[in-house]
Amino acid sequence: MKNTIKVQRAIHNLTQDDLAKKISVSRQTINTMESGKYVPSTALALKMAALFGVGVEELFQLEEGD
């Protein structure tokens, strides 16, 4: 699964740490999500989408093979 967390983070001028605190996860989790090693739960995806003011589909996209 691809995601645009990093881009959205840059648009909103947030560091990984800022974002982590806002959605109450660890900074490492943001990192593993951005690198695609960890796919977040629906709840966390919705939280991030709400924070960035975009739809979940803008934040996460399926890749071939998913």
Partner: protein
């Protein structure tokens, strides 16, 4: 998200501290037949004498308790990614443990097999702790 049932974070330190004396007691019992004198127990129901010493029980229960505390205490920030890695490491540990156990069943006989079964009381937890710590180490390293 539904939280896993885990002990508070500080239990990990308690587990690490308790682990040392119980391991020493376990080794002393296994290797040197050491028993704590006041843990002797004797009873005599209907004229048939039964006596035992509870040193090995104490060592085994103490070791299991300390391993459980180390393995199942919450991380400082226990978020869903950590829970995912935790469950993955647990599954990995069960796989590896039974693979090793099957090999030991096939290749160990007699007294050696008995020792293997004794160690097997703890190996799932030990393998889990090592695997989980390793995964967390990589997770931390990857995000520096």
């Amino acid at each position: 998200m539904k939280k896993l049932p885990l002990l508070p974070h500080y239990y990990r330190q308690i587990g690490c501290i308790l682990f040392v004396p119980f391991l020493a007691l376990g080794i002393a019992y296994m290797a040197f037949d050491y028993t704590i004198p006041w843990l002797n127990y004797r009873m005599d129901p209907g004229g048939i004498e039964f006596s035992t010493n509870f040193t090995d029980e104490l060592a085994a229960v103490g070791l299991i308790a300390s391993f459980v505390m180390i393995a199942f205490s919450r991380e400082k920030i226990e978020d869903e990614a950590i829970q995912f890695f935790r469950l993955e490491a647990l599954q990995w540990a069960v796989w590896v443990n039974y693979a090793i156990l099957v090999l030991c069943i096939l290749f160990c006989y007699g007294g050696l097999f008995f020792s293997v079964m004794t160690f097997n009381l703890f190996t799932v937890l030990i393998i889990f702790i090592i695997r989980f710590r390793f995964v967390l180490y990589q997770y931390n390293k990857a995000s520096i």
